[in-house]
């Protein structure tokens, strides 16, 4: 069949390009998630700090970056970031245009957005920790940082895994919007293949399947992590009579 040939690895097959694109999507999303984890932890800490200024700043961040369409943020960073870099370059005597590479611009944009979502996930997980256990930690003289590291973080991590799984999914799909920067990730490559061959269904379904493959890989990782983290919990009362 001609369509199978189009998906294959021969000279007329798009297989190799599509797989490279899926790996690019994976790389850009993983980078974005890491950036977002750092930002998210900081913002969550600010929102929980009780300090009016920090709380307000945290709220502004999460409201803006969750409330504004992702595409606009990607545009702002891709174009705005380039102007900034060029301006810095000129100040240092370099003549000409300095671009923010599309991988970095894309990962940064998706990372900033994912940070807003991760902040909410972390905050929710923190609030779900038993107050009594925090008190027990205070009572033996654990200071703030240690309480965070020894009692809060392990439990936040456990309680946050399902939420982080969701954020990963979101970032995976936000990464599709980076196609406007010309980065050859999965969505753009599917569209290019569809436009070049005019086989729209074939390539959109192939692209969709590759996204599902990435999802099932990451689901496996998140499920494993969740099982490991939940071994201290009693069997949920849900399934029983």
């Amino acid at each position: 069949m001609a369509s199978l040939e189009l998906l294959g690895f021969g000279s007329t097959g798009w297989g190799a390009l599509l797989i490279a694109a899926a790996l690019m999507t994976l790389a850009v999303t993983a980078t974005a998630l890491a950036i977002g984890a750092v930002l998210g932890a900081i913002i969550a800490a600010a929102k929980l700090s009780g300090n009016l200024i920090l709380v307000t700043l945290g709220n502004v961040y999460t409201t803006v970056f969750r409330g504004v369409p992702e595409l606009l943020i990607i545009y702002l960073i891709y174009f705005g970031g380039s102007s900034a870099v060029t301006a810095i370059g000129q100040a240092m005597g370099y003549e000409g245009f300095l671009g923010l590479p599309s991988f970095i611009a894309g990962a940064l944009a998706v990372g900033i957005i994912s940070g807003a979502y991760q902040a909410e996930v972390f905050r929710g997980a923190f609030l779900a920790i038993s107050k009594g256990e925090l008190e027990a930690a205070s009572a033996i003289g654990m200071h703030r940082g240690m309480r965070l590291r020894r009692i809060i973080m392990p439990q936040v991590f456990r309680l946050a895994i399902p939420g982080l799984g969701n954020v990963w999914q979101l970032s995976l799909k936000d990464s599709a919007l980076i196609s406007v920067t010309g980065l050859a990730e999965l969505m753009r490559t599917s569209q290019v293949a569809a436009g070049s061959t005019r086989q729209y269904f074939l390539f959109f379904i192939a692209g969709g399947c590759l996204y599902l493959l990435l999802t099932s890989l990451s689901d496996r990782i998140f499920n494993g992590a969740e099982r490991r983290a939940n071994r201290s919990m009693p069997a949920s009362a849900m399934g029983q009579t």
């Binding site: 009780g50 409201t63 606009l72 996930v121 996204y211 949920s236 849900m238």
Partner: protein, 234 residues
């Protein structure tokens, strides 16, 4: 800044707000109901229902909405048996297809969010309910759902805001909502930043209202958790 341009852009975009709101509210309601069914299947303990629910969640969470919408709108019509069935008069309508694919997608996410809320309910409180003879729907309605909903609320408000932004994709299927109109304006004027900024302000205001509403709901549902012990802060 060209204020007359911004003002006229704003006016054009505001005219598309009702379309966005219709898409949004219809798909949230439909998707929410569908999510309840899926969560019920997912937690039923019946292996067949559970795998169907898992498969559903996997597919609709796992692939981009853009592709889903494309396949629903342009793909279904490729099948003769659909094109000549009683469904076609509905599926022929772009608005129906847009709401359908938005709802199918959000149902997958919402189901996972609700399930997370259910898992956060203390097993001890469920036991207490079972011990007085509650089970099934009564247990869900009186104990499980209120506590789980309270737990799920932050994640759910996130999902609602995401849906608001996802409506932007509906222009792919010829439903011209705010983002679609903005993109059309851009391809007429090429003033990307100005037009997008106007659109951003509209979404920001809509989402701000939603988030405030959800925060209010969250506050009113957490009376039992307020006045937390001070050790939290110290």
């Amino acid at each position: 800044m060209d204020f007359t341009f911004i003002a006229s852009t704003m006016l054009t975009l505001l005219k598309a707000v009702p379309t966005t709101l219709i898409l949004f509210s219809l798909s949230i309601v439909t998707g929410g109901l569908l999510a309840l069914v899926i969560v019920w299947m997912r937690t039923s303990g019946n292996p067949v229902l559970t795998s169907i629910a898992k498969g559903y969640i996997f597919i609709f969470r796992g692939s981009p909405l853009l592709i889903q919408m494309f396949l629903v709108f342009y793909g279904l019509g490729q099948f003769g048996f659909i094109r000549y069935s009683f469904l076609w008069p509905f599926l022929r309508e772009p608005m129906v297809c847009a709401v359908l694919s938005l709802a199918l997608c959000t149902a997958g996410y919402t189901a996972e969010i609700f399930r997370g809320g259910i898992r956060a309910v203390s097993p001890k409180e469920i036991e207490a309910a079972r011990s007085i003879g509650m089970s099934g729907f009564l247990l869900v309605r009186r104990i499980l759902a209120p506590i789980a909903f309270r737990h799920a609320l932050p994640a759910y408000s996130t999902e609602i805001v995401l849906m608001m932004k996802s409506t932007a994709l509906a222009s792919l299927v010829t439903v011209w909502e705010v983002t679609g109109v903005a993109q059309r304006l851009i391809s007429q004027t090429y003033r990307t930043m100005e037009v997008f900024l106007c659109a951003a302000i509209i979404y920001l205001v809509l989402n701000f209202i939603i988030l405030q509403g959800m925060a209010l709901l969250e506050y009113s549902l957490s009376r039992h958790r307020r006045a937390a012990p001070q050790a939290l802060k110290a």
